[in-house]
Symmetry: C2
Subunit: 317 residues, 2 copies
């Protein structure tokens, strides 16, 4: 039976590599997925997820995460939670509850405290410096405060045919306190049904939630589209619809999908890196770009791109 | 051109009556809708929305609300907000923002404070008594703490063809602090596109968000189903799917829909009251029940039912 994993952005690579090994050894999709997301949450140089994630306008790191079990459709999510090491694990545990499975703010923190989840000051020196620099840039250069909103979203399929999806993010850099994007919202940031497949989105959450992109992609796969066809159709049609309604280009939106046969697809209205691997193909880092207005070009990331990425995320502030 | 309004539960009646008059006079759907929801939020005897809404396990009234503009697909939402008189108005104002349009917890309260929204202690004597009684019942009779989760969800269409949807709720009675249901989640609790129609859901949010029911209904209407066909198909198919996955009956789920021609529909897996009226038919209170496993019976609420309702909501605790 096929197994596989797909994740948004270059940052998903190290975790997905561990997870793919776990899937190869027969581990459940949900636990392989959790492990993959934790790896991203723990790495200090990924500035939009977990430890090292960029703070809100008050310099607080507020985190959102969600987990969905494709076998049961159970969902767990947290939003606006501060100073817990692994929000994905809290979301996974919440997905096992029939009630109170989506918790926000102080309530989410109180739950995590009582359940013994590990606390950690999630603000790194580096993130604080980036925040300080942005504050001064905003004053001096009149820059828009908002950019940077890269959610890690990972979908996993195991040999039993069980599927799961998880998301984790520190949200929009410089967001207002309590701001929530699409990442913890079912149907928008993620959706999975083991009888079909799963999808996850990243980009400007305020746009993505207008289109319920992840649900739409899973629905299209249920209608016998391949993951690539489903991603292309859902993302570009929605991009054009939104552009018409707004009279200007929508914000950044990127999607990934994996079906229960181990086939995957992606689409994006900006340059977008992602990782994918299955029982048939090694895990690789890819780049995706929109081609024309309805298709996606996908190519493997080359050495040059990878080196530039590495230099960029570690560049002195 | 047609205009109309549909709202979940008997409690929507008084507000919808005012809103239907506003629509008749040429008011925009969004403002008629806001007025309708405020009426429900302000009425102390409706125990699941706004003032008089039942509190969480800590005896705090935490409110969720959302607004979506069908012309632009813009969304505004708040969740876990305490002690503001009209959460729907905060959600409506947030829908005008490109960023930070969904705020939760303390962040939502800080925003509402700065923007001058009216504060109000939303806990009534009656709600507090119901909470105290439940606490003692839980100890003595080992009752499940959770029931009562009736969101008001209203969809309006104006003569211009502009549509909007709004939801407001105090959420699940006795919920954990910070618990969020489907009501403020796009695609689950609500969805509207003026080119098609709108939908809203009420019931156990933890179930509804597994199916993105409101988005699915709007999508089915886009595929040329009537609102009634769309509600029947989305709700009952999802109910059966969930029953199969869980091996037991899902929680309560009810949906309402209105298309841009002024036709409406509803479906529910429990007894469900709602109100609907258009340029062609006076606003009435109806009851809906599932018939067999795929259809909905709808009849007008009779005098007996209405009197029993009135007595029930005002019964001494």
């Amino acid at each position: 039976m096929p197994y596989g994993i797909i994740g948004t952005w270059r940052m998903a690579f190290e975790g997905a590599q561990i997870a793919l090994q776990m899937l190869k050894s027969g581990e459940w999709a949900k636990f392989a997925l959790e492990r993959a997301v934790k790896e991203v949450e723990d790495y200090p140089y990924y500035k939009s997820v977990g430890y090292g994630g960029l703070p809100n306008e008050n310099c607080e790191v507020e985190l959102d995460a969600a987990f969905m079990d494709g076998d049961t459709l159970s969902i767990g999510a947290v939003a606006g939670i501060r100073d817990y090491k692994n929000p994905i694990s809290i979301a996974l545990q919440l997905s096992e509850k029939s009630f109170n499975s989506f918790l926000v703010g102080v309530g989410a923190e109180e739950y995590a405290h009582k359940e013994g989840f590990e606390r950690k000051n999630m603000l790194t020196e580096r993130a604080k410096k980036i925040w300080e620099k942005r504050i001064s840039d905003m004053k001096e250069k009149n820059l828009s405060p908002y950019d940077g909103h890269d959610t890690v979203g990972i979908i996993a399929l195991d040999e039993r045919g069980s599927m799961a999806v998880g998301t984790s993010t520190s949200g929009l850099f410089m967001k207002k306190k309590g701001r929530v994007g699409d990442s913890p919202l079912s149907g928008s940031g993620f959706y999975v049904d083991s009888q079909v497949g799963g999808a996850s989105a990243t980009g400007l959450g305020e746009e993505i939630m207008k289109g319920c992109l992840s649900y739409e992609i899973v629905r299209l796969m249920q209608d016998d589209r391949t993951p690539q066809e489903a991603c292309d159709k859902a993302l570009y049609e929605f991009h054009h619809k939104l552009a018409n309604k707004k009279g200007k280009q929508p914000g950044a939106m990127s999607v990934v999908a994996l079906n229960n046969k181990g086939l995957w697809g992606v689409a994006s209205n900006v340059e977008f890196s992602f990782v994918a691997g299955t029982n048939k193909e090694d895990l690789k880092i890819y780049l995706a770009y929109p081609e024309g207005s309805r298709k996606t070009i996908i190519k493997e990331a080359n050495k040059e791109w990878l080196e530039a990425y590495e230099a960029r995320i570690k560049k002195p502030i």
